[in-house]
């Protein structure tokens, strides 16, 4: 009974994502954030997916954006009762890299900055190569948060590891500590720094990016708050990603919108986590790349490590 209602929520979550395309305009407006007012009737707006759009002023209903400290407090608290997990089906990945693009767009990243990176993998000399999307693993025992001297990177109670780039001192200790190379640093003034100047920092999307601070995958915490799936999950055309709540035991596929039992999915497919011997306890589960839908194409580039 209880599980049923929970399932319902996730189904709704999937539905909202589906509907987002249709409702389009209004959903943009409800989550918009004013950047600057033009002299005429048009106004420039920053959508939650990081795009700058121009809308007629008369269409606007003001949406209250929380201020910086409110953002930071609620960003640290997380969504009550949730425990987010991601399942990545390696047998479906054909290296389309739509996830990477959507992510870079959402988080205002330069082309070489990856919150999620699709890697070519080969486990041993003669084994079959495959593509492996690699986001931050949102470790339950995260080495990155332990070493941060100022608590700028932290784990909140719904399992998401976030960064406060208003506090980060840029020591890059967390990069050294992360065994999954999941973190990126803003070595220069970030992409579009001018454009987003003065925009209130949203800790749950880590935008606008800031020079000299860290960034990384956040499971699109801002979108989860709005009841949407993470950007990468929604963007994948091949049904690679499942995302959901471990407490509810339900994950939704970003492409097919199908919702299934998380535990059954990982059990039936013999899911595993990356480098589990390190004891980091990742929240990202991988389904083995067997019976692949797409053959590995091209040359396997040499592994650097």
């Amino acid at each position: 009974m209880e599980r049923n209602t929970r399932r319902n929520f996730i189904r709704k979550l999937g539905a909202t994502v589906g509907a987002a395309g249709v409702v389009g305009g209004t959903s943009i407006l409800s989550s918009c954030n004013s950047v600057e007012t033009s002299s005429g009737d048009k106004i420039k707006l920053l959508t939650s997916s990081g795009e700058l759009v121009e809308v007629d002023k008369s269409q606007l209903t003001p949406a209250e954006m929380p201020n910086l400290s409110e953002n930071q407090t609620r960003g640290r608290e997380g969504l009550p009762g949730r425990s987010w997990v991601m399942v990545i089906d390696l047998s479906k990945c054909r290296n389309a890299r739509e996830c990477m693009k959507a992510c870079q767009n959402h988080h205002q990243l330069r082309p070489e900055q990856h919150h999620i990176n699709v890697l070519q993998m080969q486990d041993a000399e003669h084994t079959a190569p495959y593509y492996m999307p690699k986001p931050c693993q949102h470790c339950d025992n995260p080495p990155c948060t332990k070493v941060c001297p100022v608590n700028a990177t932290f784990k909140r109670n719904d399992g998401i590891v976030l960064i406060d780039n208003e506090r980060c001192i840029g020591c890059r200790f967390c990069i050294a500590a992360c065994p999954y190379s999941a973190r990126v640093f803003n070595w220069f003034e970030p992409r579009d720094a001018e454009k987003y100047k003065g925009v209130t920092y949203n800790i749950e999307a880590n935008v606008p990016q800031k020079k000299g601070t860290i960034s990384k995958c956040l499971f699109s915490a801002d979108r989860l708050r709005d009841g949407k799936l993470p950007s990468c999950v929604s963007a994948c055309p091949n049904g690679v990603y499942w995302f959901g709540d471990r407490n509810e035991d339900a994950v939704t596929n970003g492409t097919t919108k199908e919702t299934v039992s998380f535990s059954k999915l990982i059990k039936d497919n013999a899911a595993y986590t990356l480098m589990e011997e390190l004891g980091t306890k990742p929240r990202v589960y991988y389904l083995p790349p067997k019976d692949r839908a797409f053959p590995f194409e091209g040359e396997l580039i040499e592994h650097h490590s």
């Binding site: 070489e112 070493v147 941060c148 980060c168 200790f173 973190r183 640093f185 000299g212």
Partner: protein, 453 residues
């Protein structure tokens, strides 16, 4: 200790010692001025580099997302390492009642102060947001090894400065009383203020002895932890090459090697420049050579443990790391450091001839340079080889090469450290006058110019 001398003799001995040991203060010539010019110029160039870095972002360095720590961190570890010698020479050896090291202790303290001060500066220069440095105190969390490091570095700096200052007080009183007319008034003023109204009565000496003893004992855990904790910055991560339990003792042993070499070099420079042949005597170099051999052997032992055992097993990730050091991109640096910077010096210094001042100094220079590269080898190769493949990034992300800005700032740190040492040597005697005089049999009562009442 020599036998107590007669009053006239005592005065004469004291006068000679005093004028010899204050030569570094009174001495003024073109060379000194030129030296200051060089130091300040380099310091200026370095600061300019730092300003560029703050303005443009850390991207002006060779570091990128994979190799995110570079030369600065290597340099930081190096400075922490050489500063550790202060603890060994002025505290550990004293408490063990080894008296030959007494005249050297101020040299060691100079190095300690300069090293630890620069370590602190370097770490700020490495930060992406130095403007938020205060966050470390506002939001510091004790789970992070960085906070342990900040804590011990500050404590160590404080104790080292006190260990430098306390035995200096009687000297300052001597300077205050005897230097009138020989040095500019601002210097005299400094001496007067810093001497804290020292009169030289027995109770005051008792207080100084007592305080020094406390500090010497205090600095042992702090000294050991400063470099142990620095090693934990690495050892606390899961990366191959750093993820080893031996890091603490390994770093401490390496630190003594680097620090002892630095002390030998500085001793030689003072001896030559200020004509202190009778103070930094040949036997001092001989003993320092023996000390250096001893700590190098310990370090060699740790190196064997650090590399031979994992090298034998060649586990996947460790294997990549070690291959890289033994035969890969870092092989020439690695073997040069191990052979030229450790094994050959040990073999040479076993022979008495090479423990004479000049040969020992030359060896020490090699050892010190190798020690710096050793730190480089600790930081960079591990970062270049993470667990997962490095893909979809520009080629310059994949390996690290320091940029001119990094080299500028690193040179700055070296020259800034030398500047601190030079200023200390120009302001205060490089050997504790009163201790030395007492050692030569001069009674304390002659130290003070005014007759005691």
């Amino acid at each position: 200790m020599n036998t107590i001398k007669s009053p006239e003799e005592s005065r004469k001995v004291l006068d000679t010692i005093f004028s010899d040991l204050t030569r570094s203060i009174t001495h003024k010539d073109e060379l000194t001025r030129f030296w200051f010019f060089i130091l300040i110029m380099f310091a200026g160039v370095g600061l300019w580099g730092w300003i560029i870095q703050i303005d443009k972002g850390l991207g002006v360095t060779g570091m990128r997302d994979y190799v995110s720590w570079g030369m600065y961190i290597a340099n930081f570890v190096f400075f922490v390492a050489i500063s550790l010698i202060g603890f060994l020479i002025s505290s550990a050896l004293h408490l063990l009642k080894i008296s030959w090291s007494k005249p050297i202790s101020r040299v060691a303290e100079q190095i300690a102060i300069a090293g630890v001060a620069l370590a602190g500066i370097i770490i700020v220069m490495d930060m992406g947001r130095p403007d938020r440095f205060l966050n470390v105190f506002l939001h510091g969390r004790f789970a992070s090894p960085i906070i342990w490091d900040v804590t011990v570095v500050t404590t160590y700096l404080t104790i080292s400065a006190l260990l430098f200052f306390l035995p200096l007080i009687p000297d300052l009183a001597l300077l205050r009383d005897r230097m009138t007319g020989k040095v500019p008034t601002w210097k005299l003023k400094i001496y007067t203020i810093l001497a804290l109204g020292w009169k030289g009565n027995p109770e005051q000496y008792k207080t100084v002895y007592h305080a020094m003893r406390i500090l010497m004992i205090l600095i042992i855990p702090v000294g050991l932890s400063i470099h142990t904790v620095t090693s934990w910055l690495f050892a606390a991560t899961l990366r191959s090459g750093w993820d080893t339990t031996i890091m603490g003792p390994y770093f401490v042993a390496g630190a003594f090697v680097a620090g002892a070499a630095a002390v030998v070099i500085l001793m030689y420079i003072y001896r030559l420049r200020y004509g202190l042949k009778n103070y930094f005597e040949d036997f001092h170099f001989d003993y320092m050579g023996k000390l250096l051999v001893f700590v190098s052997l310990v370090y060699l032992y740790f190196n064997i443990n650090e590399f031979l055992v994992p090298g034998y097993k060649m586990k996947t990730a460790e294997g990549v790391h070690l291959q890289n050091l033994f035969t890969g991109a870092f092989a020439s640096m690695f073997w040069l450091v191990q052979v030229a910077g450790l094994i050959i010096p040990i073999l040479l210094m076993l022979i008495k001839f090479f423990r004479k001042p000049l040969p020992l100094t030359i060896i020490s220079v090699v050892v010190l340079i190798a020690a710096w590269f050793k730190r480089y080898l600790i930081v960079i190769p591990t970062m270049e080889h993470p667990f997962l493949p490095v893909q979809n990034v520009p080629d310059y992300f994949k390996s690290y090469a320091p940029t001119s800005i990094e080299i500028m700032i690193t040179l700055f740190s070296v020259f800034a450290a030398l500047l601190i040492i030079t200023v200390l040597a120009k302001l205060f005697p490089v050997i504790t006058i009163w201790e030395y005089a007492e050692e030569k049999g001069v009674d304390k009562k002659y130290f003070s110019k005014q007759p005691k009442n």
